[in-house]
Symmetry: C2
Subunit: 393 residues, 2 copies
């Protein structure tokens, strides 16, 4: 009688959200300090000082009816100008305010872009393992997910991608730094990807778009990732300030359509139309202005780096196997038994909340979000060690 | 190649948004004081003091990583409790936190509810004239709009509604206080509507839902509107704090599913699923907490009442014809020529920005948003008077 697909989506929830809710209940039962919740990518490092300062300044200086009023649907013009200027100056990409659409965070950047581009029957290529909500977002836009496994180091498998992209491919969706693997695609592989997409677009006679989901751009422990627009013209950068400014709950991000995109004006119009159709009237007004003043700033990423080093070296020393992540704040370890779900259930007995890789489109691995207080990692280590011993590692 | 429906939606924009953007450009050209922009329902009365105080308190007392972090998808549990308690206490409706879903504002309340309920082929009955985005939201959820004209006083035409509701009707969408007419449906007509929906549900063998879009509830110049759940069980109240707290740009509201709804748990799950599918991860976290502390407060509604009185008496004295609005902040006047679009174009020459009723599903009227500074109304009156004279009123 109601929409059963939506009902099922609501009942199932994501595995990650389910664990997060379980963790909250468990913390209430046995005390927050006794649960080691590595489930959610909820930043533990506070927002940089500029966020609070800017909120205070705006409250002081801007009349409430202006500050909290509607902005234009695509965003406050000054905010869009600031974002465009930042992209141009930081990445050397040509960008104009007319190609910047402010969104309610990364998920909205994805649903709006996918609805703008896709028609029923279109295929969207994703690299597995991938963020599980990708499938929901692609399908709700009428598209079909085509999974292409990453290579053994969780980088792009370009020959496999070449085989998967065909006449029905509307877009390739990449996420670097990557959730859940922590991989950061190098400039070389991104340039080859750009060449591949250019060739495939020519074969198809229409653009194959690159959707670059980049909420972790600033959370990178090596060199900065190449800016996707600089390697390929038909690119939409989907950005969120959730992780860089630790504003995950405030729902603020943007879509930047490359001005070099074929029919860039048309694509941007479709983005505006999709936002309208999904009910996104404008991105939250106060935080639009806050992020415009904090562009290029970020939370203290060194804290995450130290978490990564502590956790990956300890787990490796206990016998777990992982590739050190190059970015984001996830450790992707091999499950010591083939069934990662069973492993995570066993870990739960030690109050370790880990996410099995199955819902990311890959079996046999586990995602550990290390965006937690260092003390959580420190206190959790004996539990990980015991767990390793149980598996005879 | 891209989604042409979305492109068209983005290019056309709403008539209202188009006028608003025109107004901004015109103000830049000839000065803000010389343009009388009555296009948008953007509150002019500042948010009540509790908003600013609560933001300051939260910034002072709650650690940033908690304050700005993800909440549960349906909202922060304490916020949902507060909303449920407020609804129970204020309206005497049974409500529980488990039936409250916090949203990114009224439009999201609508798109999420419609996606939760509708399957392709479903009909959604709207009362014309109606907020133009209703059509876009219903259609993007796969539904079909069935328009039922209001009666001559812009109240419910119950016999016509009775004829329009059939086997394919999934929901009836009402908006009281009404945009664009200012009508507030009385308790009597709402009770008859409840009886009608009950009868129609029995005939259909499945609920016909009542979607009560209530962003203007507090903007009422007579008695308070009846609470829709109290007249009919299969009700979803779609609320937004945009107007009551003058927070239109902050995108914060909620969906309250009546616990007396058939399969209330299923409906609520579908709401959660729809929110997930459309990319609404959670409602903006800071403002969730702000509104929870400001429930029952509102901006100074007397200012709007005085605007209404000034504008409606002046326009009536010039010869324009309107029914005095009972709520919201719109005056719906009869166009002095049959073609309201032509009338609005003529009004534009006097820098009066008015919205023709055509996109609201009714010809021959004009919507004037009087949520503007009183001085705008005062300065605009000579232009209205000249316009009336041009039409020989």
């Amino acid at each position: 009688m109601i929409n059963e697909t939506m009902k099922k989506l609501g009942e199932e929830r994501s595995v990650i959200r389910e664990l997060f809710e379980y963790g909250n209940r468990r913390k209430a039962e046995i005390g927050a300090d006794n649960v080691f919740d590595f489930s959610l990518g909820n930043p533990s490092v506070p927002a940089p000082a500029c966020v609070r300062e800017e909120i205070a300044r705006l409250l002081r200086e801007v009349p409430a009816e202006v500050l909290h009023g509607y902005t234009s649907a695509a965003g406050d013009p000054a905010v869009r100008e600031a974002v465009a200027a930042y992209i141009s100056a930081s990445f050397g990409a040509t960008m104009s305010a007319s190609c910047v659409y402010m969104t309610c965070g990364a998920a909205a950047s994805l649903t709006v872009s996918l609805s703008a581009l896709c028609v029923p029957g279109d295929e969207v290529v994703v690299i597995s393992p991938y963020f599980p909500e990708y499938r929901i977002f692609v399908e709700s836009a009428g598209g079909k997910v085509v999974e292409v496994p990453a290579d053994e180091n969780f980088h792009l498998d370009l020959p496999a991608l070449g085989k998967a992209i065909g006449k029905r491919t509307k877009a390739v969706l990449v996420n670097s730094p990557n959730n859940p693997t922590g991989a950061v695609y190098g400039e070389g592989e991104m340039r080859v990807l750009g060449d591949l997409l250019r060739k495939k677009s020519a074969e198809k006679g229409a653009p194959v778009y690159l959707l670059a989901d980049e909420p972790y751009r600033e959370l990178c422990y090596g060199t900065s990732p190449v800016y996707p627009m600089n390697v390929y013209e038909n690119t939409l950068v989907l950005y969120s300030f959730s992780k860089s400014l630790s504003l995950a709950g405030e729902r603020i991000g943007y879509i930047a359509v490359s001005p070099r995109c074929a029919d860039a004006d048309g694509v941007f119009a479709a983005v505006c139309g999709a936002g309208r159709s999904l009910g996104y009237v404008c991105a939250p007004a106060l935080f639009q202005r806050v992020v415009a003043s904090c562009l290029g700033k970020s939370c203290d990423v060194e804290i995450y780096r130290k978490n990564r080093d502590l956790l990956s070296s300890a787990l490796t020393s206990y016998g777990f196997s992982c590739i050190p992540p190059e970015g984001a704040f996830y450790l992707f370890i091999k499950s010591p038994e083939q069934d990662a779900v069973a492993f995570c259930e066993r870990a739960k007995k030690h109050e370790l909340l880990l996410v099995p890789s199955d819902s990311f489109g890959k079996t046999g691995y586990v995602r550990i979000s290390y965006c937690v207080a260092r003390s959580v990692i420190e206190r959790s280590l004996p539990a990980f060690e015991t767990l390793a011993k149980e598996y005879g590692l």
